[in-house]
Amino acid sequence: MNTYEAGSFDVIVVGAGHAGSEAALAAAKIGAKTVMVTINLDMVAFMPCNPSIGGPAKGIVVREIDALGGAMAKVIDKTHIQMRLLNTGKGPAVRALRAQADKVMYQREMKRMLENEPNLTLMQGMVEQLLVEDGVCKGVITKTGAIYRAKTVVITTGTFLRGEIIIGELKYSSGPNNQQPSIRLSEHLEELGFELMRFKTGTPPRINSRTIDYSKTEIQPGDPEPRAFSYETTEFITDQLPCWLTYTTEKTHQIIDANLHRSPMFSGMIKGTGPRYCPSIEDKIVRFHDKPRHQIFLEPEGRETEEVYIQGLSTSLPEEIQHEMIASVPGLENAKMMRPGYAIEYDAINPTQLWPTLETKLIKNLYTAGQINGTSGYEEAAAQGIMAGINAAFRALGKGEDLILKRSDAYIGVLIDDLVTKGVQEPYRLLTSRAEYRLLLRHDNADLRLTELGYKIGLISEDRYKKFLEKKSKIEQEMKRLKNIIIKPNEKTQQLIKKLGGTELKDGVRASDLLKRPEVHFEHIKQLITPDPTLTPEVEEQVEIQIKYEGYIDKALQQVDRMKKMEDKKIPIDIDYDAIPGLANEAKENLKKVQPLTLAQASRISGVNPADISILLVYLEQGKIAKVSTK
């Protein structure tokens, strides 16, 4: 094959999905000369599955990406067709935004952002090989013979690696949505020594909106209040489109039952491991046979298309059966299918082969992010993308530092720690239950947690940072003020409390203590004290949450503090676990595989028990004590 030199860069990003876009933007903004190489430039930030971004845990991640200076929040704020705040009836820790996206607009907006980034070059091409010298990645080679050289490389190939689409008895080599798959790169990664896993995911059929009888469904509108993911968004979309709810019927289940033998899931045709949280409809019917009906959400794919995504009907049954299934759902009796649902199998690398920076252990200066690391979801991909982009840029620019978020810093920290410490057995999705400090990792305080960091990295503008500091100090001031104001049990106070259904005051009480009562909110406190007119609703929300849940937040902080000792205890990379007597064999094997960077990370590895951690600690302390005793 003829090759040619296509240029020298600081960072190469392979792929332009949700991980690739964030990685390329972050790297370029930090100051790294970056090139993004992708199979098809029309597929930038494409959503091959559901047309939505956010939701529990995921929505918080989108805000975290925004606080670090990423793009996803800003893009969806401009391109959604509907937005909702979920879990409003629950505590502040689990609230999260979810937006229905206009897929095409989302892509267009992200592409524009990439195109307008001065430090970033976009080029269409299929990367087939990595340039690796002495275990260090130096660049990539494309199918057309272009050699791109760079100091670091980020691979974000999603489900393209040796992708195969399966519909009923049909199976063919393909990326998502009938795109060209990436076959050679997968083989090359194997040749380089990476351990690959075979995963499976799937998507439901799409139907034409004009053929849906919406009168037989229930409307699911967006929130009337304007909402946004990004802390920088000031313009809100008010013109929203609704989604619709319908259900499968007994007939649907009969059709599926009668054709199970043709399902590749059950015929043995699909070998890849699928996610439990995203089962196909045939899977649901088999596993929960007694359930008489399943929810089906009809979600528009955009403003300028009639295509509608059928959430809940993910399937890989033969196309003709899919027609039958659709027709069995109320409201869809005459619906015309536009694209069939399908299952897709693809290669992913086992993420225990990565450092917490997302650099591969096998090859220096090579990073991977997104679905290739065994995750699923646009948000999970974007989160890894921005982290890998930052770390790749830091390395390329010789900044000499790595960015690793702790589990107590962000859901992003939970996500990456889970991946590299525990590995994955199925496509990984973030859930709020994966976070042990979820009261600290709230959707409302993502900026307070991460803006400082984003600013230090160089992804947050001076202007935004100044506003952030202002907000922060306002919150602190107001909290202090409320702790010093005594509210007297006068008539006005007692009446308000009575109206709210609380017990009347016996003595004067601090405003902050009154706010801790479940029935009292900041708006009520404002009626009893001289309010500060300069406070924004966001500041007031923070003050209320931080005061109301102070006891629980403190408890969580203490937990973090206890863990800190272990988080701070670094384990040298060249440690020889075989030389440490007393470690259990299983612990030894897993420690060697994961190569944890801190004692805390070591303690989270499966098969490593507290005794092993004690032994490890004794071993690590040896050096220090040797020094002490020779003095």
């Binding site: 599955c49 559901n50 529990p56 845990a57 979920l86 879990n87 629950k90 505590g91 502040p92 820790a93 689990v94 439901p204 996610p275 439990r276 949280y277 995203c278 089962p279 649901k284 596993r287 929960f288 359930k291 399943h294 929810q295 959400f297 959430q311 809940g312 859930l431 709020t432 239950s433 994966r434 009261l439 801790k516 009562r517 479940p518 029935e519 849940y549 629980y552 408890k555 969580a556 000792k565 440490i580 007597p581 007393g582 470690l583 259990a584 499966s606 028990n609 507290p610 005794a611 004690s614 032994i615 600690l617 004794v618 071993y619 302390e621 040896q622 004590i625 040797a626 002490v628 005793s629």
Partner: protein
Amino acid sequence: MDTDTIAAISTPIGEGAIGIVRLSGKDSIPIVDRLFKSPSGKRLKDAKTHTIHYGHLYDGDVLVEEVMVSVMKGPKTFTREDVVEINCHGGIVSVNRVLETVLANGARLAEPGEFTKRAFMNGRIDLSQAEAIMDLIRAKTDRAMNVALGQMEGRLSRMIRKLRSEILEVLAQVEVNIDYPEYDDVEEMTHKLLKEKALFVKQEISRLLDTAKQGKILREGVATAIIGRPNVGKSSLLNSFARENKAIVTDIPGTTRDVIEEYVNIKGVPLKLIDTAGIRETDDTVERIGVERSRKVVKEADLILFVLSNNEQLTEEDRLLFQMIQGMEAIIVINKTDLPTKIDIKEVERLAEGRPIVYLSLMEDRGLEQLENTITSKFFSGEIETNDFTYVSNARHISLLKEALKSVDDVLNGIEAGIPVDILQIDMTKIWETLGEITGDTVHDELINQLFSQFCLGK
């Protein structure tokens, strides 16, 4: 690095006449000082280092033990920290009670090998000994693990597992409410519902703790009936046990004066042996009375030692006794193996229905060890179920249960204070994890597995 005060039993459990509970850390002297009363009114905090003091340990107003307390101030101690050693009577009951008392008053239970680890960390032990310490940690942990494993199969862990799985269902329900807010098929976890569940959990944990407080089985022992026809060796067996195991109390006449009770301690397991040997047997009524008495004793027993003679064929009475103990925890003891075998072993095996059969010769002093092992293994595996079984006898378990109970109270208080369910979930999870430490199940993924097996989720 470590600033808290740790405590542990530093003598082998259930062996020896004296038990020692050791504390190390900056609060070890104040903690014991608060609990200790000497006849002279002298305070431990005023005591000179490396001195020993006689007195009594109190938990509030309740007398715990008569003790000797050694006070050793750092750095001239094993750990280089302040160390206090409480010497008390040997045996599980006293030592556990002392440990429990110091744990309830500010000390934390030491991890396996932690004293040695502290000694090392504080530079007390030199570098060359580091490897030995690692081995020690491993060895001690393995032993602790074995004990834990023994208990895991037992009734305590069965109960705790059951409780945990109920909590897990609550947790999964709350998580589904959070992660799948639009999912229609699951009831919303409300304060009312959560309160119900929390109260149930509280009641269950309290019940376990109550039995622990009574320490019934440890104080009274496993009620063990020795039954069998006359002259098969019941009295000899009782006497052997008493002789070998330095009976704690001897020859306490039973309440009915018909039976003899003997308290023995077999490798840390206290048995209350009940023997029908004291019954005077008259010629004409021997069979009737023997059976009658046996019937009564058997009814009250947690464990039955059924003694048969190797030298005699099975009689109708033997078969009757087998019938009487059907389905009960029993060990079949075939005595007199020094004499020729006349008993039909096949039939005994059939009648034993899988229960252990132990051969011994009390005459030649053979087989007693094996019988003791059979008894203790039955005890530690939880096969023995008594009317008032103490599920919890181990101080570690007690302190964990108390911790769990505190979290339950946190949940209940939170409900009263109107805290959202998803925040209460934090304490609910803590209960589940703390209970998991007792059984050794703390895998976090369980919750996620539960989520997806219990509910039909996904797009």
